[in-house]
Amino acid sequence: MRKIWMLIQRYRFFLILFAVNILLLFAAPEIGKNSFTVTKENFLEMISILPPIFVLLGLLDVWVERETMMKYMGKDAGIKGAVIAFIMGSAAAGPLYVSFPIAGMLLKKGVNLKNVFIFVGAWSTTKIPMILFEASNLGWRYMLLRLVCNVIGIAAIAVILEKSTPDAERDAIYEMAKDQ
């Protein structure tokens, strides 16, 4: 009984939103139905990419030493770490919010803030299949111009974010990552 109550607690926002969507089904059937269709499609897409991503996360957590990750992507890794972060983010699949748990794991493994934000930035905009799709829709000139801006912009955002984060806050972020 207690367990069920805890489960309801954890999923309360989801249950509320679900109820709202059902109400919508009665108030505005067209929109409500449409909404459930979109949600179902997105859910199926998400559930198809998440299992391998979380298994890879688990493998990384268990098999890769914190020291190894730090050597390649930590504070002292220099430009090498940034390049690895860029490639990791660009080789990804899935919406941006999927990148956050992975970023959490990178933090847990001692990757420095700048490289974590480069990873998130690359995931958001320089994903390879997306770039190709962008070129076919909006032209190569547009895609290349945006890509050049994006690479500079992502690096700039990552550097500014790292520099502007006080030590205490950085420590708090790493502390949070330990519990993941």
């Binding site: 969507n21 979109v38 949600t39 748990p101 799709f133 829709n137």
Partner: protein, 159 residues
């Protein structure tokens, strides 16, 4: 295609892990499940919010609002839509292409695409779980400022 690659990599490595150490592999799966379940409530909420939002604001509605506007007002509307809504790239780029045909400028659609991908108001709670409140807000703010810069640049060069 990338999804298959992910499955291949995860499956192969998991098998390798199993042949090396059964105990550890069991731990891998336990951890994988735990971190998945940890984030599942938020993911489900996001999916429902996106679903409801996209059913009200479909492609027609957005192109109606953005297509006819131009200049600063169009930019502002693009920024608001892009920041709140989350549309997968496979929908966003064709939509951007049709917005161009409907009369929107390169500046506006760049603003729309960039904020769409980098700024996420709906996903703030998930992001905060990993980066904390202040850093999350800062990241989104910087991404927003960057979106303004890049759309001015691209609007100037191509538009």
């Amino acid at each position: 295609m990338f999804t298959y690659f992910l499955y291949g990599a995860a499956g192969g490595l998991l098998l390798l892990s199993f042949t090396k150490d059964k105990q550890k592999t069991f731990m891998v799966l336990k951890k994988a499940w735990r971190s998945f379940e940890n984030i599942l409530p938020q993911f489900l909420c996001i999916l429902l919010i996106i679903g409801m939002m996209l059913s009200v604001l479909d492609a027609d509605a957005i192109s109606h609002l953005l297509g006819r506007e131009s200049g600063v007002l169009g930019m502002a509307i693009a920024a608001v839509f892009g920041s709140i809504t989350l549309i997968p790239g496979f929908v966003a780029f064709p939509l951007a292409a049709s917005l161009l045909k409907a009369g929107a400028g390169y500046g506006q659609i760049t603003m729309f695409i960039t904020t769409l991908m980098m700024v996420g108001i709906v996903t703030l709670p998930v992001e905060m779980k990993f980066f904390g409140r202040r850093t999350t807000i800062k990241r989104n703010l910087f991404a927003f400022i960057y979106a303004v810069c890049v759309s001015l640049i691209i609007g100037g060069v191509i538009g």
